[in-house]
Symmetry: C2
Amino acid sequence: MINKLPTGATIGILGGGQLGRMMALAAHRLGLNTHIFCPDPNSPAFDVTPLKTVAAYEDLSALKAFAQSVDCVTYEFENVPAETAAAIAETGTALFPSAKALEVSQERLVEKTFIQNAGVDVAPFAKVDSQEELEAAVAEIGLPAVLKTRRFGYDGKGQTILRDKADIATAFDTIGAQPAILEGFVPFNKEISVIIARDQKGATAAYDPAENVHKDHILYTSTVPGDIAPELAENAKSIATKLIEALDYVGVMGVEFFVVPSEGGDQLIVNEIAPRVHNSGHWTEAACLVDQFEQHIRAVAGWQLGKPVRHSDVVMQNLIGDEIDEGMNLTDSNVQVHHYGKTEIRAGRKMGHFNRILGPNRAQ
Amino acid sequence: MINKLPTGATIGILGGGQLGRMMALAAHRLGLNTHIFCPDPNSPAFDVTPLKTVAAYEDLSALKAFAQSVDCVTYEFENVPAETAAAIAETGTALFPSAKALEVSQERLVEKTFIQNAGVDVAPFAKVDSQEELEAAVAEIGLPAVLKTRRFGYDGKGQTILRDKADIATAFDTIGAQPAILEGFVPFNKEISVIIARDQKGATAAYDPAENVHKDHILYTSTVPGDIAPELAENAKSIATKLIEALDYVGVMGVEFFVVPSEGGDQLIVNEIAPRVHNSGHWTEAACLVDQFEQHIRAVAGWQLGKPVRHSDVVMQNLIGDEIDEGMNLTDSNVQVHHYGKTEIRAGRKMGHFNRILGPNRAQ
């Protein structure tokens, strides 16, 4: 059932970071209101909306009151607890993307299995719940390989690389002897990502892939178009479409790929999916008329998607830690800056970003 | 003295309509907070910020508390009472644009005199405070002419056209026998406007002129570039620069011109100046990396201006009354829509607008 929200309806957002903040700004441009739920009283998203709830995600009575006061609920992060999603479902208020998208993206074994079952290439993987299973997995997959916790890993945390046999003895303890997954090492030469949206009628809209560069395990730049063949870019969009349809998903999703050189040409391996607006999609703000944040709000509000047309070539660069000061002083004629309103600068903290327009999109 | 506001500083905004709302959204993209002051408890701008004061502009104690709680004050409308500006000045909090800009733009006689003294062409005008002065003014200026109240006129209200001698007897009563100004009728064939910004160091940035079309005395479309010669466009920007400098102005200002055909080529006559972001500048949202709202916030916050570069040709169309429903369903690949969040649709009410990109700006 499609519930097209009218002007003045309220989107509930779980999470008060920069992604929630930018979703709220997009909702406001469309005449929709927002209510932000976040345990951190200093959440940057609280500064852009009159409606907020400061409570833990496990505070089910606060969650239910929140869900009942809004017209639909969405979220800015994939680690929304299952109990939180269930509590919202009990109120009858729609949750977009659905609890299924959370289940799949929260647990690497479920995620890889889902992607493989959708007929999409992933790195070879095996479940590791013990030292014995790790040894069996290495025997199957070979080295080098990466051992990752199955839950709540991000920005390179909760994982370790096994380069030779000596690493087998310590790797499982290194990641805390938690439920894990061993992934075969993929000799990729690039990482790209596709931001894709799906509305409540099932229509999809994929933006052009961005080529991503990381620094200290944190996204640093996203460049569009990336240095990849046009057919590979189309292929990445097709894979993202296949995955978002297999999930019966509503909203914006990020799909990260490794580009693996091979004799028959570059191959794509899906690294992971993120059930939310994505840092590697911030370039859409400056290079598209409808950006990923508006697209997400359109989808969860039951509206039609905008067209994912890109008018310009662009590079997005994150402003991390004290880079923010220099970044905000950029007034080049081809630069647009965005500050997340975080007053405390910390090393490694995403404080803002800027988009630099490189020229018109000549592939249009 | 330039006071560059840091992230997390708060911009106070007088007026809670769509212009205040869009200024707030721009401030939020720059990491600044906003506090909206408006007497109407249903102000659309209240839905996008946690800080609001609902009070009359004449409530000087509420005004002072507001001014003391913010880092600078700006406004979305030119009819801010002089007492309101004075009360803010008393607190020591900066007001941008200054009280002088309000004085000049609130009173047509002061405005025309200021423009003329700046060496810029205006329609012939004369003060009219009585029936006798009206008769003298007609004798001087001739007919046809327009009699306008000197204060608080907008969207065609408070004015009447005198076409022949029979109108002289009734015109002054028609506008309520208020302090008035008689303006010679200007045989213009187009109306254009320039949106210009000036920062606290005195740097200026003028956007390309828009050609404006009105419907029922309300702005309907703004097209950029307009159908005018490039030299005329440059001339309009130069005049706007001259005026903003003569006012020692900080912020964004709109300057409306009549284009008057003459034997030596088209001439420009300034119609009026608006000391605020302007409806005919909404096209900057879609066609520039730094739009008029961000430019205004940059200026009042003591920051450097962005470059007023236009990457695309564009037409902005207002969505008036029930046009909003159809407008919000536009998902053409070259269209960006903006809804002001007003839930009550009324005839003649500005509910939103959209920008249609016509193609790249080939004049760059």
